[in-house]
Symmetry: none
Subunit: 194 residues, 4 copies
DNA sequence: TCGTAAGCGAGACGGTACGTCACGTCTTAAT
DNA sequence: ATTAAGACGTGACGTACCGTCTCGCTTACGA
C-alpha cells in the first residue's frame, strides 16, 4: 500500500481519502479506457490530486493498479475444502476465471504489461499477488497429498499447470474463461498430479 | 512484411536493405534495452532510416517485432514424428522452451505487451504467430488421436494446456523454462489427453 | 534568431509563422503579466505552438525575449549627427529613455533578470544587444574626439557613464527616465569626456 | 529581520540560533550555486530548519538575502571626510567597488533579480539598502556644496551618476569594478557636479 | 527522354505524458 | 507560539515519443 518501509510518525500524516481516491481513479480509468489510456497524469487528474501526491505513494501506474487490485474483495481467494482435490480445484479455478472475466481481468492484464517491461515490478507483483495465489493452490495440493490424490513430486510445476492456461487466455482472447473450462482444467490437473 | 494489399507497380521500389536494417535494429534494441527501451524513434535512428520509412512499413513497434520474429529460423517449429504423442510433445516443447530462453523470449514478451494493449494487434499476432504454433500441436494431437492416445474431445483446451505454462513463465520469472520442465509438461498433457 | 549556427538545408523547413507567433506571445505575456508571469509553457500555449517547438528555437524564456526585442524597430538606435557631442548624446539618450519608458523597458528588465542568473546568457545578451548599443556611443565619441570635444582616454568608462544611470533606474524606480534627465546626463558625460 | 510589527509576548520565543542558521545557509547557497540555485526549500534544508520556520520570518528568498546582506559589516558605508568631494567620493566608491567584487556582489545581484520581478520587494529594498547608500552620497554632496565644489542643482541625478555605473557593471560583466575605475568615476562626478 | 509516382533522409510540428522541482499552505506531535 | 517533519495542490520545468507533415533528392517505369 504505502511505499514507506517503516511508518514515519512525524510530519503531517497522509490523507487516507487521497489513497482511496487514487485507487478509485485508477480502477475507473482502466475500465473506461483500458490500460493504454491509463497514465499517472490521468490518475492524478481524475482523483483530483496533485501528481506529486501520486508519485509520493507509487513509483508507476503499475504499482497503483497492483495496490488497487490487492484491495479488491474477490482477490481474497476462496479456500474451499470440498473433500477432494478435484472439487477444491474446480472451486478455486471457477472463482479465478469468473474474476478474470470482470474488471479483475483488465487489471491483471495491466499488471502483466508492467511486469513484462520492468523486472523490479515483476518481483513485487510476484510477492504481493502471484505468490499468494500460488500458495492457495499449494495448500490444496498438500491436502490432496495427504489424501493420496497427489503423488507428483513437483508442486511448483503443478501450480504452473493451474495458472498457466489462465494467463495464456488473459493474454490472447479472453473469450474462453468459462466455468466449463475451469472444470476441465481442474480435471486435467488432477490427472497430472496423480 | 509489406503492408500494401496490392503491390503498386509504379514509383521507386522499396529498398529491401531498409527492411533488413529495420528488423535488425528492432532486434538489437530489444536485446539491449528491453521492450521498454524500444521506440519507433529509436528503431529509425539505429537503423539509419527516416521515421516515415518505418511507418510506411509498420503501424507500430509491435508489428516490427512481430515481423522480425517471424523471420527467425527457430520460429519454424519442428514437426517431430517420434511415433508417440509424448515423444512428439516433448520434442516440440523442448524446442519451444529453448527458444524462449534466448532472444525469442524477449521478443515474445514484447509481443505480449503490445497485444495486451491493442486488440487489433492481438488479432494479427494470433493469426501470424499463435495460430501457427497451435496448429502444430493440433497436428500432433490428431496423430495421437488416430493412435488412440488422445480421447479428450476438446482440442482447444489441450492446446491451452500445452502453451499456457510457457507464457505464464515468460511473464513471471523465466528461470524455469528448462528441458526437464518441457518433459514434465508433455507428460502431463498426455495424461490429460488420454 | 534561429539557434542553428549553420542553416541546415535538409528536412522540413521551420515555419516562419511559428517564429512570429512565439515572439508575439512573449511580448504579449510580458506586457500583461510582467516577467514573473512569463514561462516557456505559457509562451507555447499562447502562441498555439507545441512546447518542443519553442525549445527547438530557444533555450530559455530569456532568449525568446531577447530575440523579440532585437526584432523591435526602436532597437535600431538613431545615429544622430548634430555636429556636437552634446547634441548627439542628447538625441541618443532621449531615444533610449523614451524606449525605456515603454514596452522595451519591461523587456530590458526581463533580460536583466535572466542575465543576472545565467552567465552564458549574459554573454549572448552582451553580444546581441549591449555591445551594439555601446558601439553607437563609441561612434559618437570618436566623432567628438576628432572635433576635440573628447580628450578622456578611456572610452569604455565613458560608455558606462552613459548607460549606467539608465539601467540603474530601470532596476530601481522607473519614474525618472525623462527627457530632462537624458539631457542632464548628456551634459554630464560631455563634461567628463572633455 | 523579524517580520512581526508588534512583538508577541506569549508562547515559545523564536530561537535566535535559527535566524542565524537561515542567514548563513542563504549566504552559502548563493555563493555556491548562484542565485538561480537558491530556493526557500534549499535554505530550509541546508539550515536544518523546517520550511515553515523560514516562511514565518521571511516572505521570499529575496527577503532572506536582504536581511543577510544588511547584517554584513562592509555594508556599513564609510563616511569619509577627506576635505574634498573628490577624495570623499573616491573613498566611498572604492569601498563600494571592492565589496562588489566579493560576496556582496553576488548578493546585490540576487537582490536585483528579486526587485526586478516584484515591485513590493523593490520598495522594501529601496528603503532598507538603496536609500541608505544614496543618503551617504547625499551627505558628501552637501558638504561639497558648502565648500562650493557642487553647484549642480539636481542631487538625485548626481547620485544616479555615482551608482549607475556600479550596477550596470554588476549586471554585465563584473570584471571592471576596479579601484582605478572608482577613481575615474569620482573624478567624472566631480566635474558633473561643479 | 521525360514526366509521373513513389521511396527516402531529414527534421519540423502539435500533442501527451513523463518524472522532478519549488512554491506556499496545511496538519501533526513535541517542546 | 515555535519547531521539525512532511503532506498537499499548484504550476512550471525540460525531455521523450507519438504519428503526421513538408521539404529536396533519388530511383524506377511507362508513354
Amino acid at each position: 500500500m504505502s511505499m514507506g518501509i517503516l511508518d514515519r510518525m512525524t510530519g503531517r500524516p497522509r490523507d487516507p481519502a487521497v489513497d482511496e481516491a487514487i485507487r478509485a481513479a485508477a480502477l475507473e480509468l482502466t475500465q473506461e479506457q483500458g490500460y493504454r489510456g491509463l497514465s499517472m497524469e490521468g490518475i492524478a487528474a481524475r482523483s483530483g490530486v496533485a501528481k506529486q501526491t501520486v508519485y509520493r505513494r507509487y513509483r508507476s501506474k503499475g504499482e497503483v493498479v497492483l495496490d488497487a487490485l490487492v484491495g479488491f474483495a474477490f482477490t481474497q481467494l476462496p479456500d474451499p475444502d470440498t473433500g477432494s482435490l478435484r472439487g477444491d480445484l474446480t472451486a478455486l479455478l471457477t472463482a479465478t476465471f469468473r474474476a478474470g472475466r470482470g474488471v479483475a481481468g483488465d487489471l491483471n492484464r495491466a499488471l502483466a504489461v508492467e511486469a513484462l517491461q520492468d523486472d523490479e515490478f515483476a518481483a513485487r507483483l510476484w510477492h504481493k499477488l502471484i505468490a499468494v495465489r500460488r500458495e492457495a493452490v499449494a495448500e490444496l495440493l498438500r491436502r490432496g497429498r495427504e489424501r493420496g490424490e497427489v503423488t507428483h513430486p513437483d508442486e511448483e510445476f503443478l501450480i504452473d499447470l493451474v495458472y498457466g492456461p489462465y494467463w495464456y487466455r488473459l493474454l490472447f482472447g479472453p473469450a474462453v474463461l468459462t466455468d466449463a473450462r475451469a472444470q476441465q482444467l481442474a480435471e486435467a490437473v488432477c490427472r497430472a498430479a496423480a
